[in-house]
């Protein structure tokens, strides 16, 4: 969460030294590229898995002296991956947006597809399920006048976007960027389908490559 916020502040549009918080300059977090194949537990039979070499987990280091001491609480990486922990793999990430206005959803789709193409995220499918209309009738008057009523309706439009083959870091980054720019009046549901190995005490059949 925090990494994207700080990046957007810096890489953003404020020129000069105006991009400073707490009265001091924010230094971009350095990235140290880890050794190849650190994304997955290195086994002796690396040749059997020639494919997983390219997955690298970005590491972040901070220079603590440049930050105000009073507000360091948000910098603790409680839910971030530790160094050397394997990155997750998501075969499919479905994003469903709901809103009351199709024009807003269409503009949001333009933004999301543009961001996906820049970040090399494959947008596989776009669906527009049928809108749902909730209508109800109420009495117009507070007392009696049963033949005079008023009717309300609420329309909900849906947009489903499906992204395939994302790593955990890419998913977190991409989703956070998308969600920070979600327009008002639009709700989002994200379904992630993660790939896992079998648990320890379950023996895999010959079809599974370990």
């Amino acid at each position: 969460m925090r990494k994207v916020a700080s990046v957007l502040m810096m890489a953003g549009n404020i020129q000069g030294a105006a991009g400073s918080i707490f009265g001091r300059c924010v230094v971009p977090r350095k990235l140290v590229r880890s050794t190849p194949a650190c994304g997955f537990r290195i086994s002796e039979k690396l040749s059997a898995i020639p494919l997983l070499r390219s997955s690298l987990l970005p590491q972040r280091t901070l220079s603590p002296k440049l930050f105000h001491t009073a507000s360091l609480s948000y910098l603790s990486a409680s839910d971030d991956l530790a160094v050397g922990e394997p990155d997750k793999l998501y075969s499919l990430v479905e994003v469903e947006c709901r809103g009351h206005d199709t024009a807003v959803l269409r503009s949001y789709l333009t933004f999301v597809s543009s961001a996906a193409s820049h970040l090399n995220v494959s947008l596989e499918e776009i669906l527009w399920p049928k809108k749902h209309i909730h209508r109800w009738t109420l009495l117009k008057s507070v007392h009696i006048h049963k033949h005079h009523r008023v009717q309300y309706e609420v329309r909900t439009h849906f947009l489903i976007m499906k992204f395939a083959r994302l790593t955990g870091s890419t998913t977190d980054t991409f989703l956070e960027y998308i969600q920070r720019n979600l327009p008002e009046g639009v709700a989002m549901k994200v379904t992630k389908h993660e790939l896992h190995r079998l648990p320890e005490h379950v023996k895999p059949s010959s079809e599974v490559i370990v």
């Binding site: 990235l31 379904t191 895999p204 059949s205 079809e207």
Partner: protein, 330 residues
């Protein structure tokens, strides 16, 4: 005229009136004199009128409105090649003076044009994407690229993914404006695994299917475990994997009472030791010519199909053909 009436009624002489006024002035008593009577007094031509009632409306000079120095709208000072990302850095309500576009929005009144952008509530209500123009998106994505990792090669297709990672865990998260951040549905975790990825023999598979019942989909041969009994998704996730482990280990075990399984409990028809096999044996023995092997095998296969797949047109016709061949009428 009121003053004439007063003169007639009261008999007030001009001299008396001027004496009264001078007295009032010396005692600092407030007296009001209409402009007209003051004028007359000054000129000393006519008799001054006494006005005791409120004045008639006197036209004052028209109020001059202060002309404020109105600054021209901001867009007039903007360069054509400016960096729009600096003008509109974050999501903001529409501000007509900052946007150099002649946009119009709204349903026009009869005989009117579509309302322009100045003071247009419709334009202000709707979320605008002026902070997400293509160059700004590109710039922000360039900055985010270093946090992304590429997808490892070799697991592009679903088949390859299943070979290396047979288990798929699904989870939903929700984002909507409400008094609370949390959505209870986010605790639900679904685990899917294909049974061909598990090392199970016949007995193990049968036992597992009996244990999971309708969580197994016969068309895709997938086992789906949904966990929502714990309040946190991490707990449900652990519970899913625990269930999978327990199911597998239990199905690999053979309990001492499992030998009590009867013919009626069997999940599929087994030919060996069945009445059909005994009947066929009797037919073969009674037959003088030796029946060919393939006829026997075909009959066995057809009877197994009839029991396992049910009685429908193709199975029954195959059974008929096989019996004809067996009996020798084909």
């Amino acid at each position: 005229d009121i003053e004439d009436k007063m003169l007639k009624l009261g008999g007030v002489t001009p001299r008396l009136y001027s004496q009264v006024l001078r007295l009032a002035a010396s005692c600092n008593i407030h007296t009001t004199l209409s402009t007209f009577s003051e004028l007359k007094a000054e000129e000393n031509e006519e008799f001054r009128t006494l006005e005791l009632r409120s004045k008639k409306f006197v036209r004052q000079p028209a109020r001059v409105m202060k002309s404020h120095n109105v600054v021209p709208p901001r867009y007039k000072r903007q360069k054509v090649d400016q960096d729009w990302g600096n003008v509109w850095p974050a999501a903001r309500t529409f501000h007509p003076a900052s946007v150099p576009l002649p946009v119009r929005q709204g349903y026009p009144a009869s005989g009117q044009v579509t309302p322009d952008k100045w003071g247009n509530a419709e334009l202000m209500k709707i979320p605008n994407f002026l902070h997400l123009t293509p160059p700004v998106i590109k710039r922000q994505c360039e900055a985010l690229k270093k946090f992304c990792t590429p997808w490892p090669s070799g697991i592009e297709t679903a088949a390859e993914q299943e070979k290396y990672f047979p288990v798929m865990v699904s989870k939903s998260t929700y984002l909507h404006s409400s008094p609370t951040l949390r959505d209870q549905k986010a605790r639900i975790v679904t685990l899917r695994v294909s049974l061909k990825s598990l090392d199970l023999d016949d007995h193990g598979r049968d036992k597992l299917l009996r244990l999971v019942k309708n969580r197994h989909d016969p068309t895709t041969d997938c086992l789906t475990i949904v966990a929502d009994r714990c309040p946190l998704s991490q707990q449900n996730y652990d519970y899913c994997f625990y269930l999978l482990t327990v199911l597998y280990n239990e199905s690999m075990k053979t309990e001492p009472w499992e030998h009590e399984k009867e013919v009626a409990d069997r999940e599929r028809y087994i030919w060996e030791g069945s009445p059909s096999q005994a009947a066929l044996q009797a037919i073969i023995d009674s037959n003088e010519d030796s029946t060919p092997e393939e006829v026997i095998e075909e009959y066995k296969k057809v009877v197994i199909d009839l029991h396992n797949e049910g009685e429908d047109e193709p199975t029954l016709s195959r059974y008929r053909d096989s019996v004809m061949k067996l009996v020798g009428l084909a």
